[in-house]
Structures are given as structure tokens and as C-alpha cells.
């Protein structure tokens, strides 16, 4: 049971030692072709408006024929306060100043060091247990002087 908890903790620790960064590509609506390849693999897009607002959308689509950008997302004002909850958004492409594609990546920043310290800690625990056991067995173990001093 304890081993399972420790393993789960370690797994959670390792999986949390990463940082998310975003591959971003930019294009004004008139030059959408520039980012078509990046857009095809980006789960999010941001529509930056001339007045500073930004719409962050997922499950998005751009219909150049109708000139509409649609998707589920959140509208933020220029101060980046959310003006709406997650809901369906529909924007005129002509009203957008800049389109940004966002593709998140995980960057590992600490898995190796955490594994090294976890192994070291594991060995340390085993040594502590051995020392405790041998000392209690009155054979001196890791603390021969202390054992001698305590001896009757």
C-alpha cells in the first residue's frame, strides 16, 4: 500500500516537472495562407482585435468564403479580463487585426534531477533501516561508540 502511494507520488511529481510553452505563428487576415500549415495542427487560435481585445478559440474554423472565424472560446478585453465565459464565438475576419495560432508543447525541466534525488533518497532510507536494525541488534552497527556507551 505504502509502496503504491510512494509510486503514485513519484509519478505525479515527474509528470508535473514540465512546463508548457506555445509554438506561435502570426498572420493578418489577408495573409492567412502564410500560417495555413501551422494552423492545421494548432488546437487554439487567438484573434487579436485592433482595440486590444483578444478572442481565444478552440474547435475553431475560418471560412474565407463567408469571411467568418468561428469557434468555442473566451473574449478578453485589453486589460485581459474575461468578458465572456466559454461559449460559441463568431467573428468577422475583416474585423480581426492579427491571427495567432497556438500549439502547446511540454518541455521537461526536472525529470532527470528528480529521478536522481528519488533514487538517492531510496538508498538513504534503506541504509537508515539497516543502521537501525544492526544498532538495535547490539552489534554496534553504524553507531559502535554509542552502542558501547549505552552498554551496561
Amino acid at each position: 500500500m505504502r509502496r503504491g502511494v510512494a509510486a503514485l507520488l513519484l509519478l505525479a511529481l515527474l509528470s508535473s516537472c514540465s512546463r508548457t510553452i506555445y509554438e506561435a505563428h502570426f498572420a493578418p487576415p489577408a495573409q492567412l495562407a502564410k500560417i495555413s500549415e501551422a494552423a492545421a495542427r494548432a488546437p487554439f487560435i487567438k484573434c487579436h482585435m485592433p482595440d486590444g481585445r483578444v478572442f481565444v478559440l478552440q474547435q475553431w474554423s475560418i471560412e474565407e468564403g463567408t469571411g467568418l472565424v468561428e469557434g468555442f472560446g473566451i473574449e478578453y478585453d485589453a486589460d485581459r479580463n474575461a468578458k465572456s465565459g466559454l461559449r460559441r464565438q463568431s467573428l468577422k475576419l475583416a474585423d480581426v487585426a492579427l491571427i495567432e495560432t497556438n500549439r502547446p508543447y511540454n518541455v521537461d525541466v526536472g525529470t532527470g534531477p528528480v529521478i536522481a534525488l528519488a533514487i538517492g533518497t531510496g538508498v538513504s532510507v534503506i541504509l537508515s533501516v539497516i543502521c537501525l536494525a544492526t544498532t538495535q541488534a547490539s552489534s554496534g552497527g553504524c553507531f559502535p561508540h554509542a552502542t558501547r556507551a549505552l552498554a551496561p
Binding site: 508535473s16 510553452i21 481565444v56 492579427l98 502547446p104 518541455v107 534531477p113 536522481a116 538513504s124 537508515s128
Partner: protein, 183 residues
Amino acid sequence: MSKHAGILALALCACGDPGQLGRSVVAPSDVTTHVALTSVPVRGAEVTVVRNDSRKLTGELLAATDDTMTILVDGTIVRLLVDDVQRATVTRYENSALIAGLAVWSAIGAVAGISHGLLAIVGEPIWSGIATGALIPVMADEARFASTDRRWDFKFLHEYARFPQGLPPQYAARARQSGSATQ
């Protein structure tokens, strides 16, 4: 057992992703699809600017053009001419909490090593080596920064700005009103 679980829990907290900023093209090593829409950053990255007179300025990057960059420093909008800037460094992600967590873990491990008695003579140097080896690569992780000291490269900054489309009118007006434009 509970002591070591506590150490792991402490390190877990230190490793937690605070939802840092940072946008750039990276190697396609590990694409994640488990990002909530609300976690997508909508503010500019933290940028540290070293001016020609060696003074440093750190704030949120609002906008960057070929000849100016605009930064929000403690609620004040500061516009800098690119010619006045010696170096610009963007923080793509933070790892100071991770460094602190690993340092605490290392220190606790070193203290706990006393319980090894005479074996600590061998164990402590080994633990020190492991701890140092764990900390150095995290502390020396230069990938968390994107920087340049060449003025013609400053245009890379615009992808980290809150307003990559350029400063909106109300912010441009605030910059003028604060009298901090082109400091």
C-alpha cells in the same frame, strides 16, 4: 516513510506548473493536448531590458515594433526606443520554484544522512554529488530565456507581446498621459 512522502509532496508542490508564459518555435518533442483553454496565456511575457546606461527594467511586454518596445512596469507604461536598449531577455518559463524544491530536498537528504552513522562518511559525499548533479542542470537551464543583444533582432520580441498587432489606442493614450513615453 511519512517523512519521505512529505519530501516528495514538497517537491511536487515546487514542480507545479504555474501557467507560465512563453511562446516560441520549439522542437516537436512532446505535443500536449491536455491544455485547458483558460490556461492559454493572454498576457505578454516578462521581459528584462538592459539599457545603454546599464540600468535594468523588468515588466510585461505589451508591444514591440522595429524601433520601439512598450513595457508595463508596476502599472506604468514605459516606451523605450530600441536604440536605447543594449539587451532584451524574455522569460519563456520559470523554474525557480523547482530549484528551491530541489535545494530543500537536497538539504533534508543531507541532514537525514546523519542517521547512517559511520556510513555517513561515505554517504554524505555521495549524496552531495547527487544533489549537485541534480541542481546544476536545472539552474543552468538557459532554454528558459530567449534573449538577444543585437538591435536588428529585437523584432523577435513581438511574438511575446500582449499586443502583437500593435499597441491599441487606449494604451497608446495611457502611455502619453503617464508621460513615460520614450523614457
